[in-house]
Structure formats: C-alpha cells, structure tokens
C-alpha cells in the first residue's frame, strides 16, 4: 500500500477533544488493574503492624495456614531477600516500606509485617485478620513540633538552604514587618481506584499488571529490588483511576511479586482504604515561619521562609515548602530553609503540588498580611514584587505571565469593586469576603522515548510508556501526535501504559505531558522525513523511535514555571464557624494548552482540592498509638459536591517561542495558592487570620472567642 497522508484541516492542539477512552470508561469496558481476570489467580492480603515501634517477636503462621484456602504466609523469616542499596530511576533510594519483609524491625504503625495468600480475597482477609503477631514494643515519638531538637536542614530535590543578604539588618530597617507561623496538617491522597497489582511469571519473565504513574519507573524499581534484568520485567498499567503522587512502587507490588515467585502462580494484592493511610504515602504536616520586611510601599527588603516537615525514621522525603519563595519573590535579603524531623511515622511522599501547595499557603497568606499592614491592594503588592530574574538562581524566566493572570483574573472576578476593609459585609447569618493568591509550579522535562509506526492503511500508531492517571494524557498525546504528523487525530492511535514501549518519564511533577510530547514530536519529525509521498509501506509498517535525552540536556538553563492567580469568595457564619466557598476563579499561565476540555477539568480539580485543603483535609494522629484516628473516607474529610461552588478556570496566552514544545505542566498548579486565597477571603470576611489549616468550624469559633 502507498502512503496517502491526509492533511489535517485544523490544528488539533488547542481545541477541545473528549477523552479517546472515555466511552470505554463510562461503559465499564475499560478494565482497571484489580479487575483483570487471570486463571489460577491467588489473592494476597497484607498484615500491618499494630504497634508504632518495636520488633516482631513471633508470627503465628501455623494456625493460619490451616484455615480454608490459605496458600502461604510470607514474612521476614521466609520471604525472598531484596536488594535495597541502589538509586532508582527517579534518583532516589527505595523506600524501605516497599522492600517488605526484610527484617523484624517495626518503625511505624501500619508497617507491613506479613502477606497472607489464599484462593479467594475473602479467605485471605479472614486469615490475615486472624494472624497473631507478637511484638516487643518500644517507645515511639510522633510529636511534631517546629522546634524539635532533631530537626535539620535537608536537601531532597533541591538545596535545603538558600541565603543571600543580611536578613536581620533588612528586617530591622523595614518599615513594615510580618512575622507569623503557618501550619498545614498531614494530608492524604486517595485516588478513587485503590492500589492493586497482579504479578505472574511467564516463560521466565515477570509481568505485573498494575495501577501506577509510570511503568518504566516500576520496572526499574522491581528489577533492582529483585536483582532481575530489567528486560525480563514487564509492567502494564492501561487505565489508572487517579494517582496524585501515591502510585509509584509500593509494598503491594513487591509483596505480589514475592508471592508469585514463591507460589508459581499469579497473585494479586490490593490495598484497602485504611491500609492506604499507612502505605500509599502522604503529605507531611508543615510548620512554616515567614518573616517579611518591606518598605512602606510594599517592596520587599527581607524575605525569610522556613519550613519544617516530618519524615519517617527509615526514609527521608522533604516536603520542600520553602522552595516556592525561591521562585515567587525577591528581596534584598532572602533566606529559605527546608528542614525535616524524623519521627516514628510512615513515609511521606509526593502529593499533588509537593512543596508548593503547603508552601504557597504560608507565603501567600503572609503576602496578604503584608498588604493589609501596608494598606496596599494584595494584587498591587504582588505586582510591585514581580522579580526580573530567579530570586535565588539569578536565571532568566522562560515566560512568566503572572501579571497577566492577575490582571485578567481581577477583571473577571470584579476585584476593582472590592472594599478592602475586613468584616463589614453581611448577608443574613453570613459574613462575606474575597481573597486572592498567586500560584506557581515548576515546568520540568525528563528524557523519554517514543515510537511511531506508519501503518500500511495510512494510520499511525504511537507507542510510549506514558501514564494516563485520569489527566487525559492519552488524548493529549493523540492531539500532539496528530499535529506533529499533520493528520487528523482520528488517524492516530496512542498506546500507553506498557513498559515494553521503552523508557519514559512518569506522570508526575507536572512533567508528563511536556516530556512525552517532546518524544512524540521528535519521533513524528523523523518519521515524516522517512515517508516519501507515494512510497510503499510494508505490512509491518515503518517505525521510528525517538529519545529526548540529548534534547533535554541541551535545554537552556532557565526558570521554567507555570503560574496562576487564584480568587475566592467565601461566606462565614461566625455563630457556628461554618465556612462556605461561594465562587472561585483561577487564571493560569501554563504554556500551550493541549486539550482545553481536559485542561479545564484538571485546573478545577486542583482548585477543588484547594478547597478541601483549606477547609477539610486533616489526618490526626493519636500520640499514644502513633496512628491516624479515623483512617477512612468517613473520618478523613474531602470536599463534597455541596462544598464546591461555581468554579471558573481559564488561562492567558503563555507562548514561549524558544521552547521546543511550549507545553508546561498543569497537573499541580491548580491547587497551589487555592488554600491561601480561601484563607485570605476568610480574613476579609471576618477580620480574623487563620494560619492553621484546615479552617474547621471549631477553629473559627475558638479564634473568634480569642480575638473578640
């Protein structure tokens, strides 16, 4: 057959397209990891520690092995040994929580101590719940305080400390000073689809059918842990019902591989909601101190942002909340510091907007307090402090359109009519207020590979081990490929979620679509060079592969970020402490928007999460036991439909002609600043600052009592 390349009439990127797999999802045809049938499938159930620190003295496996259907009990005495001294694809060492059953030490409540495998999930669960584990209990410490003696600066993904200028001198010389502490609680990401993985060996190869944010990542971790050739490991993850940072390698995949190895049959392990509170990672609580010193006109002389987060004793993850100050505002003296303290708690991890989400709550609340003290409009204050270059890096910005976000947002929100005085608008039992905050999130890219095949029938097939975790990535890549190939999207099939397609970046860090698009565009460019009009396409098609490693290494060093301006109107009943968000507007500058339909959904999703963060979400640990109280979705509140008002998300033009794809990430920036905008609106409504999230009714009532 000869090529009949049909030119696309219009560009696909930039026009709204429904999800290509949408029909499969709403009709149930799309199968999720826990739904896919396998013959001879056995079911594993994890047993988690009920003590917060100690040693396993004994695990009474024998009686459980006699229970109906039970096939095996794996624990530290009989589980396969794992290799843990490696640095994985994401540049981090494995979280020991995932390297299950390698010792008798229990470092936190909810630590995996055993896996019970049985013929049915019900049998496995009953046996797991009957498994008696005897512990030697040791004293534990989960008391997280800002001045914990063991806290220390920590680097994580960025330097722990940055410092320039004489902070004390500038603060002393400042006409206006804000010095406040802000706290955010432990928060959890619970995708609609809980974690589930099925492992099996076939013809000497390990296959894992999983729900994750990157099959390349999971292959790399599993191959390292089990000392396997990565080429002998295949991970598939076709549909993912949400990830939000929680779906990397977790205990259940490793336990499933162990059980499949021992039993020589496929084994599935799924997490329950309560188990996810210990094993899916979470966002650390933060205690942040912000000191701002300004001239009378609001220009910053001093900016000090110090954040303490909490990590596990066995694994260090830094919730780098002070990082946002390194991007947003400059000052003559500028100090930022991320500290961690190791406590006897489960390992935290990336959760939507890591660093920026809690960091922006503190920094953008403090800016609002500074605006109040200076008597300057909060938007004007921010515009007066727009930096010309990266405040810490000194690098130029690659398209920074925050000003446009504020100006267009203010116009649509009706900001000009706002009376700045707090506590003066009443409607029935409600006090009304409005607030705003800035948002940013890094727009990075990481090396990826992609393959595109020109099929004999004139269609194109793209293969890339990208992950669509509900974002619409599959559809976005279809549009990107269609434009790059200059064909209508209907002629392009994008296959994702399979490590066989080669190495690619994960869906994370707001880097997925940008990274994958680079690889798809590069492959399309090479393929089009190969395709001569009228040439014959062989039955197997013509395939080209791309690898963006060199392209990404050659990117100019710049400050690349997405930006946004968040606006919120709230109503507060001072008699009951109820806070309701009445409307929200988010204006974003986030590069080229690939699919406006799904992009809007992703922005508003982030903003809704911001409502949740501002008003609802909080995991409370009981110091006596070391574990969360009410670890389920009845006890851990997230915003319901009734909490979500009319929300508008839109974007300003944010083109960057120097960028190879012009696409920035949009996955995280939607939550950034949202909680601060709401908290600032609560102040505007009531005249009372809430520096501790979430703003629960009891806190509103208590604060009103103190301040009145």
């Amino acid at each position: 057959m000869t090529t009949t390349v049909q030119k696309a009439a219009v560009r696909a990127v930039g026009t709204g397209h429904v999800r290509v797999e949408g029909r499969d999802k709403v009709t149930g045809a799309a199968r999720y990891a826990g739904d896919i049938p396998f013959t001879e499938l056995a079911y594993g159930w994890l047993v988690l520690s009920t003590v917060a620190r100690g040693r396993i003295r004994d695990i009474a496996s024998a009686p459980v092995l006699e229970m109906p259907g039970v096939l095996a009990v794996l624990d530290h005495r009989n589980a396969p040994r794992l290799k843990t001294d490696f640095v994985g694809m994401m540049g981090t060492r494995p979280d020991p929580t995932c390297a299950v059953f390698q010792g008798d030490t229990v470092p936190h409540l909810g630590w995996p101590v055993a896996l019970v495998v049985a013929e049915t999930p019900e049998q496995a669960r009953e046996a797991a719940e009957a498994l008696a584990v005897e512990y030697e209990t040791l004293p534990h410490d989960i008391e997280f305080t800002g001045d914990h003696p063991d806290s220390r600066p920590a680097d994580g993904r960025m330097p722990g400390v940055t410092d320039k200028g004489d902070l004390q001198a500038e603060l002393t010389a400042s006409a206006v000073v804000v010095d406040e502490e802000y706290t955010t609680p432990e928060e959890h990401h619970h995708p609609m689809e809980p974690h589930a993985a099925t492992a099996r060996w076939e013809d000497g190869r390990l296959e894992v059918v999983d729900s994750n944010q990157g099959t390349s990542w999971v292959v790399s971790e599993l191959a390292n842990l089990f000392s396997l050739d990565p080429a002998s490991v295949r991970v598939r993850s076709e549909h993912v019902g949400g990830g939000f940072g929680s779906k990397g390698v977790r205990a259940h995949q490793v336990a499933a591989v162990m059980a499949a190895t021992v039993l020589h049959r496929p084994v599935r392990v799924a997490l329950t909601r309560p188990q996810m509170f210990a094993l899916a990672g979470h966002r650390s609580p933060t205690i942040q101190r912000i000191r701002l010193g300004a001239y009378a006109d609001g220009r910053l002389r001093a900016l000090d942002h110090r954040s303490v987060s909490r990590t596990a004793t066995v694994y260090e993850f830094v919730e780098a909340s002070a990082g946002v100050a390194r991007v947003m505002y400059d000052a003559d003296a500028h100090h930022t510091e991320n500290r961690v303290v190791r406590l006897d708690v489960p390992s935290p991890t990336f959760m939507r907007g890591p660093g920026e989400a809690p960091g922006s709550f503190a920094l953008e609340s403090a800016l609002d307090e500074l605006a109040e003290k200076c008597g300057i409009d909060p938007i004007e204050l921010r515009l007066r402090n727009e930096p010309g270059r990266g405040p810490v890096s000194g690098l130029p910005f690659a398209s920074r359109n925050l000003r446009a976000c504020f100006e267009e947002g203010a116009r649509r929100f009706g900001w000009a009519e706002r009376d700045p005085r707090p506590g003066v608008r009443r409607e029935g039992r409600w006090l009304l207020g409005t607030g705003t905050a800035a948002a940013s999130f890094p727009a990075g890219a990481a090396p990826s590979t992609a393959a595109i095949t020109a099929e004999p029938d004139g269609r194109f097939t793209v293969r890339i081990s990208a992950a669509d975790i509900g974002t619409g990535a599959r559809t976005a890549l279809t549009l990107v490929a269609a434009d790059a190939l200059d064909v209508p999207p209907e002629q392009v099939t994008v296959l994702i979620g399979d490590s066989e397609f080669g190495f690619a970046m994960i869906a994370g860090g707001s880097m997925g679509t940008r990274s994958w698009s680079m690889a798809v565009i590069a492959a399309a460019r090479d393929l089009r060079e190969r395709l001569v009009p009228g040439m014959a396409i062989p039955p197997e098609g013509i395939t080209v592969r791309s690898d963006t490693t060199a392209q990404i290494a050659a990117l100019a060093r710049m400050e690349r970020h997405s930006y946004g301006a968040q606006f919120a109107e709230v109503a507060v009943d001072p008699a009951t402490g109820e806070v309701r968000v009445r409307r929200m507007l988010g204006m974003f500058a986030a590069g080229r928007i690939v699919n406006p339909l799904t992009a809007r959904s992703q922005f508003t999703g982030g903003m809704i999460w911001g409502i949740s963060m501002a008003l609802h979400e909080e995991a409370v640990r009981d110091p006596a036991f070391g574990g969360p109280v009410g670890a389920d979705l009845a006890g851990y509140h997230v915003a319901t439909h009734a909490d979500v008002p009319r929300i508008e998300a839109d974007w300003v033009d944010d083109t960057d002609p120097d960028d190879p794809v012009g696409i920035k990430g949009i996955g995280e920036v939607g939550i950034v600043g949202a909680a601060a905008a709401i908290a600032n609106a609560v102040w505007h409504a009531t005249g009372i600052r809430h520096r501790r999230l979430p703003i629960r009714p009891d806190r509103v009532l208590t604060a009103a009592g103190t301040d009145a």
């Binding site: 009951t576 036991f625 109280v629 509140h637 009891d698």
Partner: protein, 330 residues
C-alpha cells in the same frame, strides 16, 4: 471476612424466630452501618436475618391523630412524605441532613435508631474501647475527641450518637414499637438509649432479640412550626458536630410551647428539657433564647478539645429559635 449465614425473614414473627435471641445473630435492614462494621471487624455476626423486605414500609395515620412509621420505611421515603413534611418539618429536615441520597435510599427508620457511634476508637478494632470491649479503656478521653460528648458522658465513654433523625424524634416524644418472642412492647424514644454510666456497651433498653417494627409520632401541634439545623465540617455527607431540633409556638410575643433537642453532644439525642422549661411562658426574645441555652448547657462538661461545642450549641440554639420566631412574625 468471617463467613456468615444469611436468611431473609418472611414476616415479623419469622424474623424474631430466625434470630432466636442468638447473641451472634443480627438483624440486617439497610446495612448502611452494619455492613461497614462487619468489614472493619467490629461486628462479626454468625448469622444475618434480613428484615429489609418486611411489610413494615408504610406511613399511616395513627388512632391518636399522629403518624405511624413502619420500621423499614426508607429514610428517603420518610423525608419525602407530605404529612411528615407539613406536620413535622424538623423530622424531614433532620433526615435530609444525614448521609447521602444513596445511603438514605437504603437506610431504614428502624436501622437508623440502632446505628452505632462513629467514634474512631470504637470502629478501630486495634484500639481499646469500653463500648466495643468492656473494661479495655477509653482512649478518646486523652486522645482525639474534638467531636465527642459534652453532656451526659462518663469516664467510660465520651462517644456521641450519630443519628440526625433520632434528634428530631426525641424532640417529638416519638414512641418505638418492637416485637420479641414474648410479644410486643414499646418504649419512648427518650427512654430508648441507656445512660452511659460505666456500661457504654449497653446501648438501648430493647430486650434481647427485639425487632423494631415502627415508630409512632404523637400529634404534636407545635411541631408544625419546627426546624432542624446541623453543623458539620463540610457542607454534606458528614456527621454533625452539633445540631438542634426545635419547635416553637409564639403568640403575642410569648413562647406558648417549645420542643428542643440537641444532637452530637451526648451518647444519645439530648432532649433539652431544662431549656424548654426556661422558654415556655417567657418572652420570645434573643435574651430568653440565650438564657434557655445557658440553662441547658450549664450541665456541660467539655473535654480539653471540644469546649467549642458549648459555644456552638449556645449560638445554634439562639439562631434556630430566632429563625423560628422571625418566621412567625413574617
């Protein structure tokens, strides 16, 4: 999960016979609480007797001029019933303030009364709890208790009753009807739940093996002018941190009759009789309402982290009574 036997009861006596006073057997109605408790291991019944399909799903006038509500009437149907909405608006509002649409379609009136506390220590079998495991202790006293009781609690248990519906029923002096192997019985709602004392595991006055068959709502004329307001930590789908069911009859600026009950403050719906006495015969003013709330809440014994509930209940009582008064004036 523990395997269990499941039977569907053919009729009321059949259900009672099937249960056979067996402490390991449970009646299953909507299952919106029991099934959750079975998943978490709090309940491990050997046998379930399904009563959801029993012919107790009618709402009918009773001879005294009130209403009789069958035990298997769904929460949704109760809240939607025209007589309930016009004569007992606080009851319809209370039901609609609870759970979600899906849960209200499944949940029954009888089951609602017997749902268990959502205290997170009660629902976590790895923790001590005097209600679940008598004598094991109450970690909520020194732990997480910002939504626990301020009234009528004890050192043994500070959990609160979760029902919204029962708060309105308590204010209405509803009567619970039940069936046992030895015949029928009835108990007034304010007598249904036992005081906590040192026996929090003993929750109701129902005889062993009793099946709730229905509820009688007496003809309470003041109830036609009533309201239920619930404060919770999100706009929907959460248990109350404080709620008020109030009915008020104001004529010539004076409170002629009043009914008042509080939710989420005690191990049972809290009938605010002290406040009612302070209201009746007094001028219908904010001062009276505040004084009545203060009188009732004088008995409050808040814990370190739930003192806000005293303020909340005070403010909410004044707000609801004021709203009812203003509605009369208009």
């Amino acid at each position: 999960m523990k395997e269990f036997d499941y039977r569907r009861a053919p009729d009321v006596m059949g259900a009672v016979t099937l249960l056979d006073n067996d402490p390991d057997a449970r009646y299953l109605a909507g299952g919106t609480n029991l099934v959750d408790l079975m998943k978490s291991g709090v309940e491990r019944p050997a046998r379930l007797v399904d009563v959801r399909e029993l012919p107790l799903d009618r709402i009918e006038p009773s001879p005294d001029g009130g209403l009789h509500v069958g035990a298997t009437v769904s929460n949704s149907d109760l809240a939607a019933h025209p007589e309930v909405r016009s004569r007992y608006p606080m009851l319809a509002q209370a039901v609609l303030a609870g759970a979600s649409g899906q849960l209200r379609n499944m949940a029954t009136v009888g089951g609602n009364l017997l749902q268990r506390t959502r205290c997170a220590y009660f629902t976590d079998t790895t923790k001590p709890c005097n209600k679940r495991d008598p004598g094991s202790g109450c970690p909520a006293l020194s732990g997480e208790h910002h939504n626990h009781a301020i009234l009528g609690a004890s050192e043994s248990c500070v959990a609160v009753h979760p029902s919204d519906m029962a708060v309105a029923l308590t204010a209405l002096d509803a009567v619970v009807h039940y069936e046992t192997a030895h015949g029928q019985g009835e108990v007034r709602l304010d007598q249904l739940y036992l005081p906590v004392a040192d026996t929090p595991h003993r929750e109701t006055a129902l005889p062993a093996g009793a099946l709730i068959t229905g509820i009688s709502l007496p003809p309470v004329s003041v109830a036609a002018h009533s309201r239920y307001r619930k404060v919770r930590e999100r706009a929907s789908y959460a248990f109350a941190i404080g709620s008020v069911a109030a009915a008020l009859d104001v004529r010539d600026g004076v409170v002629r009759d009043a009914r008042l009950a509080f939710g989420a403050v005690a191990s049972r719906p809290w009938r605010a009789r002290t406040a009612e006495r302070a209201l009746i015969g007094a001028p219908a003013t904010a001062e009276t309402f505040a004084a009545s709330a203060e009188a009732e809440l004088a008995a409050a014994r808040p814990l370190p982290h739930n003192g806000y509930k005293v303020t909340l209940m005070h403010n909410l009582t004044v707000a609801v009574l004021s709203e009812l008064t203003e509605a009369v004036a208009r």
